[in-house]
Amino acid sequence: MDRLDVPQGTLELMILTILSREPLHGYGISQKLAELSRDTFQVNPGSLFPALYRLEQDGKLKAEWRPSENNRNAKYYKLTSSGKKQLQEQKQRWDRIAFAIASVLEGA
C-alpha cells in the first residue's frame, strides 16, 4: 500500500502526541510516525521541520542537543507544559471531529 501524506492540520497533533511519551529528534519523530501509523503516514522533512520550529518558537516544545544512538549530536525535542496543554486541547478537538465524522458516515 502507498504511504499517505499526513492530513492537513493534524501534523502538530501527531508530533505533540509522539513527543508526549519521550523526547525525540526529527528523524526519530518521522520514524515513530511511520511506525505508529503502521506505515500509512509519511511526513516530508520539508513539512516536519517548519512544524517543529514553529512549535518551538511558540514555546510548545523545548529542544536540547545531546548524543543520539549513533553517537552524534542531535536536536531532541521535548514537550513543555504549555505544549502539554495544547496537546490536551487538540486531542479533545480531534476526538470530537472523529466522533462527528463517524456519526455522519454511520447515519448515511
Binding site: 522533512p45 521541520f49 552524534r72 542531535a74 536536536k75
Partner: protein
C-alpha cells in the same frame, strides 16, 4: 502567544541569525545522517544511502527555506535579503542604475519641491504654541480688522477666551529722511508673544505692561525678529537697549524673538514689532479699523461656544465704541453683522488664496512628468527583465514561487525609487527655495518656511514607493509569467523574445505621448495668457516711467500742498524728463480709493454704485500715455479748488451712461458727511489698469487739490510722482532725489518704475508659464527618448523579418516606412487620447487664463504640431537603421 514573546523571538532571529542558521543546518544534517545510517544498517551501500537520504528530505536548502518562511520576522528578513540582492544587482550595472536614479531624482525632486511650497503655503501650522486652539475674529463674512477701542472693549470684558492678541501689519521706515528704507513691522498687543508662546532669543519680549495708553510719550520699545537681528545687527548682544528709528520716532530695542518664529501670516515675516499703543494717531479713533484679533480657546471649548459668547458681548462693544459723529444712516450698520470665529491654526493668508490654485496646477503638472518618466523606466526595466529571463527561470526551478519573484522585482524597483527619493529631496531643498524667491518682488518679499517637516518627507517617501510600484509592476508581471521550461528553451535557442513583451512598451509610449500633449497644451495656454498680460494694451505705456512715492511727515498743511506743487514744477524742468505728473495712486499702485456715486440724467436714486478714484495733477494721462477719447485734461488754469470736475474712463461710461460719451454730463459723489456733491465730467479716457492688469473697473479722476481742504483731506498724506524720462530710468534717480531734497529735506521717498510694477503684478503668471514650459519640454524629451527606445528595440527584434523583406527586394524607404507605420499609429493614438484628456483638464484652468480660451486654436495647433513633429523625429532616427539591415548577416544569425 503574547506580542512580547513574539517580538522577542523575532529579535532573536534578526540579531542571532547566524547562530540560528547554524542550528537549523545541524538539525537537518543530523536528520540526513540518522536516515543514512539506518539505510546502511538495512544493507544499502553508504554512498547510495546518503544520496537517498538527501533525496528523501527533498533537498536540504529547500527544507531550510521552508523553515525560514515560518519564522517570526521571516518576511521582514526575506525582504531585507531582497534589498541586499537588489543592491548587488544594481552595483553590477552602475550606468543603468545611475541613469534610472537620476531620472527619478529629477521627477521626484520636482514633486517634492512643489509639495514643499504647497505645504508652506497651505498646510503648515503657525510656528506658535498649540496653534490648534487659535481662532481669528471676523465681522460678518469678510471683515478682519477692528479699531483700538473695540480691542479694549473685547479684551477687558471677554470671558470665553483663555487669552487674546491683537496685531497689525505696517511697513516702518528706518531712514530719517530721503530715500526710504522700509522694514516689515508689526503693531502688537502686549500679550502677543506670551499668548503665542514665543521665547526670547535675547533680551526680553513685550509684556502687557509695555502696551498701555500713553506709551508713545513714555518709553517706546521694540522687539526684533531673529532674522532681522542677524542681518541688521550681526546678532550682536549689545543690540539690546540700543535705539532704533521707525517712521521718524525713536524706540528702544528690548529683545529678539526666537529663531523659528516668523509671524502669524504665511508669506509675510516681520522685522520689528512694537506695542499697538505707540500708534497714538489711531488708538482713540473709533473709525480706523486696523487691528486683527486672535483668541486662544479655553481647553475643551469649541469654536461655536466661544463664538456665541462673543456675540453676547457684541451689543455692549457696539454701544461703547460707536463713533460719536457717525451719521445716523451709517451708525445703524456699525458692527451690525455678527462676530464670527475662524480656526487659525494655519494662520490667515492672502498668499494662500492667491497661490493655491497655481500650486495645485503645478502639482498636477509635475505629477504627470513623473508618470511619463516612470513610463521610460518601466520600459528600461522591461528590456532588462527580458535579459534576465534566464536568471528568473533558474530561480523558479530552484523553488522560488511567482509571488516571491514578483516581490523581488518590486523590491528592486522600490530600491531604485527610494534612492531617487533621497536624491529628490536634496533637489527639492534647493529648488523650492529658488521657486519661492521667484515669487518675491521688489516691493513684496515673500517669506516661506521651507524647512523639512514630516509632511514633505512622508509625501516624498510615498511618491517614491508609489512610483516604484507603478514602474515596477508591469515588468514584474511580464517577466514571471512563463514556465521555466519554456523560458530556458527559448533563451537557450537564442530565438527572439516573446511578442507580448513589446506590447506592454507600446501602450506605455502612447500614454506618454498623450500626457505630454496635455502638458504642452497647458504650457501653450499659460504662455499665451502671460503674453497677453505682459504685452497687451492696458491703457498706459510702462517703459521709461519712474515712480516716486513721496510723503511728508505730519498733518496736511498749506505748506505741504505747496511743496508738492513746487516739486512738480522742478521735476518737469529736469533735463531728461519728457513729462511728469503726480497722483494719489497709479496703475498697479498700492492704494485703492473708492467712493459711492449716483449718476443718470436726471439724477436717479437707483442709478448708483461704487467707483474707484484717483486724484491726478494735469499731465497725468499724457505722462502715462493713456489716450484721451473726448473732452480735456485738467489744466493749471482750472479754479485751484475746483473739486467739482472729473474725468472718467470707458467702464465708468459703460456702467453709468450706457457707453455714450459722458463729457458734459454730471453725477453725484457722496461726501464723508453723507451729503451729495454734484460733479461735472470734463474728460473721457480709455480704460487703464487700476489695481490689477486683469480687470476693467469704473474709475473717476479728480484734480489734486492745490491747497489743503482741512483735516479730512487724507490725499495730502503722500503722492506718487510719475516721471517719463527720455531714456533709461536708473540714471535719473540721483537727480530726482536731489530735486525732492532741494524742495523739502523731510521728504520720504520710495522709488521704482512702472515697468517693475507691471512685472511684479504678473509674477505668478510668469512663474506658471515658465514652469509649465519647462516641465512640458521635459515631458516631451522624456517621451521622445521612450519612443526612440521602443522603436530601436522593435527594429532589433524584427531584424530577421526585415532581413527577409530586404532579401526579397523591399526598398530601404519601404523598410523605414514599415517601422514608421507603427510610430504613426502610436503617435496618433496618443494624440487622440491626449486631446480628449487635454480638453477636459483645460476647463479646470479656464479661470486662470487672460484673454485666452481653453479651446484656443493656436494653442491646440502648437501643441499637436509640436508633439507630432517630436514623435515622428524620435521614431525616424532609429527607424532609419532598418534601411541598413544587411539581409545576409541577419539571416545567418538566425
Amino acid at each position: 502567544m503574547t506580542l512580547l514573546s513574539r517580538l522577542k523571538s523575532m529579535l532573536r532571529w534578526l540579531l542571532f541569525r547566524h547562530a540560528a542558521e547554524q542550528e537549523l543546518d545541524d538539525d537537518i544534517q543530523s536528520f540526513i545522517q540518522l536516515s543514512a545510517a539506518e539505510k546502511i544498517r538495512n544493507g544499502i551501500p553508504p554512498e547510495e544511502a546518503r544520496r537517498l537520504a538527501i533525496l528523501e528530505i527533498g533537498g536540504a536548502e529547500q527544507a531550510k527555506e521552508q523553515v525560514r518562511r515560518y519564522r517570526h520576522g521571516g518576511l521582514l528578513d526575506e525582504i531585507g535579503r531582497d534589498f541586499r540582492h537588489a543592491l548587488r544587482i544594481f552595483g553590477r550595472s552602475p550606468g543603468f542604475t545611475f541613469m534610472v536614479i537620476g531620472t527619478l531624482a529629477l521627477g521626484i525632486g520636482a514633486n517634492a519641491a512643489i509639495f514643499s511650497l504647497m505645504d508652506a503655503v497651505m498646510f503648515r501650522s503657525l510656528p506658535v504654541r498649540n496653534p490648534e486652539n487659535l481662532v481669528e475674529v471676523r465681522l460678518g463674512a469678510r471683515r478682519q480688522t477692528f479699531s483700538y477701542p473695540v480691542w479694549e472693549q473685547i479684551r477687558d470684558h471677554q470671558k470665553f477666551f483663555e487669552s487674546m492678541v491683537a496685531y497689525a501689519f505696517s511697513d516702518f521706515n528706518l531712514a530719517p529722511n530721503g530715500e526710504t528704507h522700509l522694514v516689515r513691522g508689526l503693531y502688537v498687543s502686549g500679550t502677543y508673544f506670551s499668548v503665542l508662546g514665543i521665547r526670547p532669543a535675547a533680551g526680553r519680549l513685550l509684556t502687557p505692561g509695555d502696551d498701555r495708553r500713553g506709551c508713545s510719550q513714555t518709553g517706546r520699545v521694540a522687539v526684533l525678529s531673529y532674522g532681522f537681528w542677524q542681518s541688521q545687527y550681526g546678532g550682536a548682544l549689545n543690540t539690546i537697549g540700543q535705539p532704533i528709528t521707525l517712521d521718524g520716532r525713536s524706540f528702544t530695542i528690548l529683545g529678539v524673538s526666537s529663531p523659528e518664529f516668523w509671524g502669524v501670516r504665511v508669506g509675510q515675516s516681520f522685522d520689528v514689532a512694537v506695542p499697538a499703543c505707540t500708534r497714538n494717531d489711531l488708538i482713540d479713533s473709533a473709525n480706523a479699523s486696523w487691528l486683527r484679533f486672535l483668541g486662544r480657546l479655553k481647553p475643551g471649548e469649541s469654536i461655536s461656544e466661544a463664538e456665541s459668547g462673543l456675540r453676547t458681548l457684541q451689543p455692549a462693544v457696539r454701544e461703547a465704541t460707536l463713533p460719536p459723529q457717525l451719521p445716523a444712516s451709517r451708525a445703524q450698520n456699525y458692527l451690525k453683522e455678527p462676530f464670527r470665529l475662524m480656526a487659525a491654526a494655519g494662520g490667515s493668508s492672502p498668499l494662500r488664496d492667491q497661490y493655491s490654485m497655481s500650486l495645485m496646477v503645478l502639482m498636477a503638472v509635475v505629477g504627470m512628468v513623473l508618470l511619463i518618466a516612470s513610463g521610460n523606466i518601466a520600459g528600461l526595466l522591461l528590456a532588462r527583465a527580458s535579459a534576465r529571463t534566464r536568471e528568473i527561470a533558474v530561480r523558479v526551478s530552484l523553488g522560488a514561487s511567482r509571488f516571491r519573484l514578483i516581490r523581488q522585482l518590486l523590491v528592486e524597483a522600490v530600491v531604485l525609487s527610494l534612492a531617487g527619493s533621497i536624491a529628490g529631496i536634496l533637489i527639492a531643498r534647493l529648488s523650492s527655495r529658488f521657486l519661492a524667491n521667484q515669487l518675491s518682488t521688489n516691493r513684496g518679499r515673500i517669506f516661506l518656511d521651507l524647512s523639512l517637516d514630516w509632511r514633505v518627507v512622508a509625501f516624498t517617501a510615498a511618491v517614491g514607493i508609489m512610483t516604484g510600484l507603478i514602474f515596477g509592476i508591469v515588468p514584474a508581471l511580464r517577466s514571471t509569467q512563463w514556465t521555466p521550461a519554456e523560458t530556458l528553451r527559448e533563451t537557450s535557442l537564442n530565438s527572439t523574445a516573446s511578442r507580448s513583451s513589446a506590447g506592454a512598451g507600446r501602450w506605455l509610449v502612447s500614454i506618454q505621448i498623450a500626457l505630454s500633449l496635455v502638458l504642452v497644451f497647458g504650457a501653450a495656454l499659460f504662455l499665451r495668457s502671460y503674453w497677453s498680460l505682459a504685452t497687451g494694451d492696458h491703457g498706459f505705456r510702462a517703459t521709461n516711467v519712474v515712480l516716486v512715492s513721496a510723503s511728508l511727515p505730519g498733518p496736511p498743511t498749506q505748506a505741504k500742498a505747496t511743496a508738492f506743487l513746487q516739486t512738480f514744477d522742478a521735476i518737469r524742468a529736469l533735463h531728461g524728463v519728457r513729462s511728469a505728473a503726480y497722483s494719489a495712486t497709479v496703475p498697479l499702485g498700492d492704494t485703492q480709493i473708492d467712493n459711492h456715486i449716483r449718476a443718470g440724467s436726471p439724477v436717479h436714486e437707483d442709478q448708483d454704485g461704487d467707483v474707484y478714484l484717483d486724484y491726478i495733477s494735469p499731465g497725468y494721462f499724457a505722462t502715462l500715455e493713456t489716450p484721451l477719447l473726448a473732452g480735456r485734461d485738467f489744466d493749471v488754469s482750472d479754479d485751484p479748488n475746483a473739486d467739482t470736475l472729473a474725468i472718467v474712463n470707458e467702464t465708468f461710461a459703460r456702467q453709468f451712461f450706457a457707453g455714450n460719451n459722458p463729457v458734459g454730463k454730471t453725477f453725484q459723489r457722496r461726501r464723508p458727511n453723507d451729503s451729495w456733491m454734484p460733479i461735472q465730467i470734463v474728460g473721457f479716457v480709455k480704460d487703464a489698469s487700476y489695481s490689477t492688469l486683469r480687470e476693467s473697473i469704473p474709475v473717476a479722476y479728480f484734480p489734486t487739490p492745490r491747497s489743503t481742504r482741512g483735516p479730512e483731506d487724507f490725499s495730502l498724506a503722500g503722492y506718487v510722482f510719475s516721471i517719463r524720462t527720455s531714456d533709461g530710468t536708473a540714471a535719473m534717480t540721483p537727480d530726482i532725489v536731489k530735486t525732492f531734497a532741494g524742495i523739502d529735506k523731510n521728504f520720504s521717498l520710495s522709488i521704482d518704475t512702472l515697468q517693475t510694477r507691471v512685472e511684479d503684478s504678473i509674477v505668478q503668471e510668469r512663474m506658471l508659464a515658465l514652469l509649465s514650459i519647462f516641465f512640458g519640454s521635459l515631458a516631451l524629451i522624456i517621451a521622445a527618448i521612450g519612443l526612440a527606445g521602443l522603436v530601436s528595440y522593435s527594429v532589433s527584434r524584427r531584424r530577421p523579418e526585415i532581413g527577409i523583406r530586404a532579401a526579397l527586394g523591399a526598398s530601404p524607404a519601404s523598410l523605414v516606412f514599415l517601422v514608421m507605420r507603427d510610430v504613426i499609429y502610436l503617435t496618433a493614438c496618443g494624440l487622440l487620447f491626449g486631446s480628449i484628456v487635454g480638453s477636459l483638464t483645460a476647463r479646470l484652468i479656464a479661470g486662470m487664463l487672460y484673454q485666452v480660451t481653453t479651446h484656443d486654436a493656436k494653442a491646440v495647433g502648437i501643441a499637436i504640431a509640436t508633439l507630432a513633429l517630436v514623435a515622428l523625429a524620435a521614431g525616424y532616427v532609429p527607424a532609419r537603421s532598418a534601411a541598413h539591415v544587411d539581409p545576409v548577416t541577419c539571416l545567418r544569425s538566425e
